[in-house]
Structures are given as C-alpha cells and as structure tokens.
C-alpha cells in the first residue's frame, strides 16, 4: 500500500518535472523564434530609447546625392528628407507613431547598425555612452532619372519603374499618388482615409492586368513552339472563342498578319487564336518561366504577380490571358522585369535597390545584387527584341521613338471594370546594348498605351541615355 502511494508520488514528480522542463523549453523556443520578431514592435518603448540614441545612417543615390539625412536637434536625432515627395515610396519614412515604411523599413537594422558586430561594438558603445552610428546606404537609383520620372507622372495615378537590364539595379521607381514623409502627423488621417491610396507603393504592390504588353510573353511561347503553332492569320477585327467574342482595339481589322505584324500592330485576334492553339499548359509554362505566379527574390517586398490555377483556366479565360486580360495581374516592377529579360538576351536579374552598404566611416560592408535566371533562350530573346524594335519603329509604339537610338517596346491598353483603360508601355534602349528597361503604367488614364504611356517612357529613357554609362 505504501509503495502504491510512493509510486503515484513518483508520477507527480514526473508531472512536475515535465512542467519545469516545459517552461525551459518554451523560454528557449520563444527566444529563438519569436523574440526577434516582436522586439521591433512600436509599442516596445526600448526601441524608442535605442532609436533616440542612434544616428540613423544616411541614404544616397548612386552618385552621392543625399536623399535622407539625420540631424541632431537638442540631443535627439531627427530624420530629414530633402526631396519631400520624390522618394516617398522608395525610401519611405521612420516614425515612432506610424512605424516604418519603404527602405527605412526593410533596411532598418542596417540603418541602425543593429546586427553587425553586435556584441563587441554595442558593448563599446554602451560603455562610452556615445550615440550609436548607423550604416549608410547607397541606392541604385539615379537621382536625375528619378527626378524626371516623378515630374512626368505628376497629376496622374500609376507607376514608372526603370531598371538596368544587365544588373537588375533599379534606376528609378515612382508611384503616384504619393506624400511628403516630412510631417506625417499632420497628414496622417487624411492619407489613411484617402481612397486613392497614397500610401500604397504601386510599383511593388499594385496589381494590374498587363494588357497587350503580355503579348511579348505569349510571343515567346509561340517562338518556342513554332512547329506546333500556325502564326499566320487573317484578322477581321474580332474573334470568337467558345461563343465569346474578343475584339481588337477599336475593332480594327489588321488583315493578313504574321507573328511580327501581330506584335507591331497589337492584333488581339491573332494572339487569342495562337494562345488557344498553344493550350493552357504552354501558356502557364511560359508565364511561370517569366516568374508570373512565382515569387521573385529582391531586397524589396515585391508582390507576387497572379495567374489563375491551371485547372481553372478554360478557353475564354485562356483567350483573355493571351492578350493580358482575364484574371492575370502583374506589378509594374514585374512588367519592367519582362522588358529587361528580353533586353538582356533572355536572362532575368533579380531587382535590387541598394547598391552598397557602408559603415559610418564610408567603408563598404556589403554590395547589393541578386541572382540571374535564364528565362528564354538568347535566340528567342533576339527575335523578340527585333519585333519589339519594330513595334516602336513602325507599330503602336511610335511615340517612344528616340532619334538615333534603336528603342524596343510594347504598348498595352488594359480594360478595367471601373473607370478608363490603363495605359501602359514596356520597353528598353538602346536595343543592341540595352542600358535601361522601363515600365510605365497609367491607372485609368482612358487613353491607349501608345498615346499616353509611350511618350513618358521615351522621355525617361532619353534622360537615362544622356547620363552615359554608370
């Protein structure tokens, strides 16, 4: 009887041991996996104390122009953005009340020098009591290009993204509407309640139907499958798929067209027909190759472009997708990446916005850069390039022509459920050795891509090309 007792007491011992072990395990788990995530919470006032004692690193464009600086006013650091709205969606803001956004957010740890050589450096700083000096960032952005892009987008809604196709460096990124990051408190309520979403970075997070710009992707698939697809078509201004009619822009009948002509004139009928001939599998396949429906690694939070599940695409959807409508959605950054892939002989570079990280002394700690991915063969890329040059020389992209320079591109006019059509253009220049790839998206502009977006793209590319090699 006694030993029965004791046996049960041993059960209780085991139970208590489990409780204590549980506590230890949980504490360890908490610190390993959850700790870092919550430390940055704005309600953690220690964060404020730390920030008040840190000289936040400066942010420069690729040529050393100061885009964000820190002044010390009465012992407290104050962040200053000399160019106000221009970089609101690139650099963002760092605010005690409203948190952090943009590069101030993604690179927060770096700007505060929180994670490098922590123990030794931090201990040293704790001991001396001096302000911690954050690390500086040199962006890939070219201030001149950004300046012009911002000016050109004023009064409109949408995005302009310019990339260097051979490196993936983002030369300019503008999203409108935007805001001034310098006095958030006064504007905050208005900004939050504005249904035009001035706080949304359309370049990275705005999802738009790519419209005719998507024909570049479909054309790539056609070129990969020339022996199973007929590229010749007699365009009558519209085509019927499964009882559903898809018309060309303005119902224009293009007559006899081949692949190249279909691209330069942006013939919907032929592309719908070819897309249906290729079939769901191949369309989804080429889209995935271009990373549509997949996530792209970047030092910015790039939203994934959307494509419906293969099993859910029936023929009318397939037809719509072949001209970039239907359930397809892409971000302007991704559209620029499509252009840059063609420009770069079929290789896509992961986009990045920070060129260098320097410590407060100017010593380079890290260089930016992403991986490259082979999307299409360089032969196909070359053919696409030629066709896109034709689009600009003879086709819908005429407004993007630059004297003396071979420019390649594709216009797009996406229909929307609410409001006017989106006016879009993707392109690159100069075609033989491209230094810039660009995407311009004008939300609900109401005019065609060739009319509204192409001229803007031309001007931005001109500025970039004048800047010379960088």
């Amino acid at each position: 009887m006694k030993s029965d007792f004791n046996k049960r007491i041993i059960h209780l011992i085991i139970f208590s041991s489990c409780l204590f072990l549980g506590m230890i395990v949980y504490l360890t788990y908490f610190q390993l996996f959850i700790g870092d995530k919550i430390v940055d919470n704005p309600y953690n006032k220690r964060q404020w104390a730390r920030e008040d004692n840190t000289l936040r690193g400066f942010i420069y464009d690729r040529n050393g122009v100061e885009l964000a600086t820190t002044d010390v006013v009465e012992d407290t650091p104050v962040r200053i953005y000399p160019f106000e709205k221009m970089y609101s969606h690139v650099i963002g803001y760092s605010s005690k009340q409203y948190g952090k956004y943009g590069i101030e957010n993604y690179y927060n740890d770096t700007l505060m020098a929180m994670n490098d050589g922590t123990t030794v450096a931090r201990i040293k700083e704790q001991i001396t009591g001096e302000m911690i000096r954050g690390n500086h960032l040199v962006l890939t952005i070219d201030h001149e290009i950004q300046k012009n892009a911002e000016r050109l987008l004023r009064g409109k809604r949408g995005s302009i993204v310019a990339i260097d196709p051979s490196t993936g460096e983002v030369l300019a990124m503008v999203s409108k509407p935007d805001f001034s990051p310098n006095n958030l408190t006064e504007q905050w309520d208005r900004l939050i309640n504005d249904d035009k979403s001035p706080l949304l970075n359309r370049s990275l997070s705005g999802l738009y139907p790519p419209g005719s710009t998507y024909k570049v992707v479909v054309a790539a698939s056609v070129l990969e499958n020339l022996n199973s697809v007929d590229t010749q078509h007699n365009c009558t201004g519209s085509i019927v798929v499964d009882g559903y009619e898809i018309s060309d822009y303005g119902k224009i009948a293009h007559g006899a067209v081949d692949l190249k002509k279909s691209l330069t004139e942006s013939c919907n009928s032929n592309f719908v027909r070819m897309g249906v001939e290729l079939g769901v599998g191949k369309i989804v396949d080429i889209s995935n190759k271009f990373f549509i429906g997949k996530s792209i690694e970047s030092d910015m939070p790039l939203r994934q472009s959307r494509i419906p599940k293969e099993s859910e695409i029936e023929s009318t959807e397939l037809g719509a997708m072949s001209i970039g409508q239907g359930k397809l959605l892409m971000t302007p950054m991704h559209m620029a990446l499509v252009a840059s892939t063609v420009a770069n002989n079929g290789v896509m570079l992961e986009p990045h916005i920070v060129r260098e990280i320097q410590n407060f002394n100017g010593r380079i700690l890290q260089r930016g850069g992403g991986q490259s991915h082979r999307v299409i063969s360089s032969n196909i890329a070359q053919e696409l390039k030629d066709m896109m040059v034709a689009v600009v020389n003879e086709g819908t992209g005429r407004n993007a022509r630059i004297q003396g320079i071979k420019v390649g591109g594709k216009t797009g006019t996406a229909q929307t459920d609410s409001g006017g059509d989106h006016s879009m253009f993707i392109g690159f220049a100069p075609a033989d050795n491209p230094r810039i790839a660009i995407a311009v998206v004008l939300e609900n502009e109401g005019r065609s891509g060739g009319q509204a977006a192409a001229p803007i793209a031309r001007e931005v590319m001109q500025v970039a090309l004048k800047r010379g090699g960088n």
Binding site: I123, Q126, I127, G129
Partner: protein, 146 residues
C-alpha cells in the same frame, strides 16, 4: 571604464549560479548513489547509520554499515568497519552479537567511544536508536526496520 566592469559582473553571476546548481546536483547525485549502494547491501538486519554530514570530512566514510555479526571498528586494515579518521585508533571499538542482542565495547582507544553522549567504560547493550560516537563521527544504531 566602470561600465565594462559592471557589464562583466552581470555575466559572471549567471555563471556562478549555474556553478552552484551544478555543485548541488553533484552532491545530490553522490547522495543517491550511496543510497542505492546501501539499498543493495542492506538485506535486513541492524546497521549503523552515519549522522555526521559527509561534506565537512576529509576522509571517506559510508552512510551505512551493516552489522550482522561481530564487527571491529577502527582505522586498521583488518577492521571490519574501516574508517580513516585520524581520531580513530587502529582498533577502536567492537560490536558483538549475542543471539538477538548487540553489544558495544571500547577497545582502549585513545579518544574513547561514546554512547548517547557518555564515554563507554564497560560493555554496553545497543538499543535501537542509540547514538554511537567514534572519533569525529556520530552514528545511530538501527535495529528494527519496517
């Protein structure tokens, strides 16, 4: 300068606390090991149980000595119960068994043998719970169990 010291000190604590814990666990482990050994060797019958805490001693001694037959307690090698206490003589005391009773007598030791605090002059009978003092050690004689 001071802050370094303060910081260093803060980390030293954690180390010391763990050292303390380690020490305690070691002692407890030794304790258990001894108990286990005694469990196996104690097959019933009377024994001498050590009362003095072992950590203060600089010689090794068992927690329990089984006393089934006659036993000589001393420092000498031939003793049945051998204890290397310098205050214990080579042949210090003797426990004898007579049927069911146990007796203890001092073997003319230098420092004497004590029963319940009184120095032994003659042979004395050991009762359950009697305290036996030899050298630096104190034992209790346990006869009845269970």
């Amino acid at each position: 300068m001071f802050r370094i010291f303060s910081l260093a000190l803060s980390y030293v604590f954690i180390f010391l606390i763990y050292y303390f814990i380690f020490n305690i666990i070691r002692l407890i482990y030794l304790d258990i090991k001894n108990m286990k050994e005694k469990e196996e060797s104690n097959t019933g019958g009377p024994f001498l149980k050590l009362l003095t805490t072992k950590e203060k001693l600089d010689f090794s001694v068992e927690s329990l000595y089984s006393v089934k037959q006659d036993a000589v307690i001393g420092r000498g090698a031939e003793s049945d119960i051998k204890i290397e206490d310098i205050f214990i003589s080579t042949k210090h005391a003797q426990i004898t068994r007579d049927e069911d009773e146990f007796f203890i007598e001092d073997l003319e030791s230098v420092n004497g043998t004590y029963l319940n605090g009184n120095r032994l002059e003659d042979v004395a009978r050991l009762k359950n719970g009697d305290k036996v003092g030899i050298g630096l050690l104190e034992f209790v004689f346990v006869k009845e169990t269970g």
